[in-house]
Symmetry: C5
């Protein structure tokens, strides 16, 4: 059936909020993880025998970068499905 | 003929969404591809005999940067013409 | 009870303003503190005997980066609870 | 005379669109041209005898950065005066 | 007395415009001045005998960065008080 005007306003806010939330929230972690990868490549070029060790540290640092993205994903899912 | 008010709201959202989508979506790939080009130039200055090899890797890395731009382009076209 | 339309407009502005305020205000200090940490790591690699001294200076510089975040937090709390 | 409501909506969109268009469109070229200038200064410090040659290349690269600013200026003028 | 609806719309635009104007306008000069300071610190480390000379040039470059912030401040004050 046709939604009421008041329901539509809620969905308008829901979709805008979810879009801003995951849109902006996915921006930072990706840039941060890119910085980590950038530094890792230079580091590997200088100490090639540490490639294995550095790969694990790179993934660790990128996981830290990714945490705020997970916050955004969580809030986005809550906005869309739970509240 | 004059569009109805409800149709106009849909087109308002469509144009705003398409503009944000491709506007922001074209920002990142270009910056990313610029970083790749920046590093490539420095790399070529240090290893001039690898210019050909590096050009191909540069284009490969820039193509990866461009994928999210293609996502944005696809969604923009869908917003404007398909849904 | 159901809020009046005029009260709702005020709350609409209040939530949007608070979200923009702390959202954008938390962006800068984190990036700035990240730059400080970036430089500190490189500095420690070059002068390992100064790690303790540099840690204190790093925290000092990051505290300066954090001041604008505190401004944003203050204004956000004022928007939400005080005015 | 007082503009009609429908005319006002058009002007609202026109001014918002023009402001976003040239505001965001003037951001990128300036940052890009700044990166070019940054690299040029470092390059001149390393090869001072090439200052004249580098100045011309710097302006060439900055002109490329400026093209998207010209697109934005063109669209802004079209939004404000032509359509 | 209670403002009329039409006056309220003008003030809505005035406050949003002033906030965007000085908010975004204060972003760039600060980042630019930060880049100048970053380069100055590295330069001082390489040529410590030029600290005094570099300080003046740093302030000169940062003043140039600050000009667009002054434009924004001027326009913001005009939006709020003069027009």
């Amino acid at each position: 059936s046709t939604p009421k005007f008041t329901e539509s306003l809620v969905w308008l806010g829901r979709f805008l909020g979810a879009g801003i939330c995951i849109g902006a929230g996915a921006l930072g972690p990706a840039i941060g993880a890119g910085h980590v990868g950038d530094g890792t490549m230079e580091a590997m070029a200088r100490q090639p025998e540490l490639v294995g060790t550095m790969t694990i540290r790179m993934l660790l640092a990128q996981a830290v970068c990714g945490t705020t993205g997970l916050y955004s994903l969580l809030i986005t899912l809550l906005i869309l499905f739970a509240i």
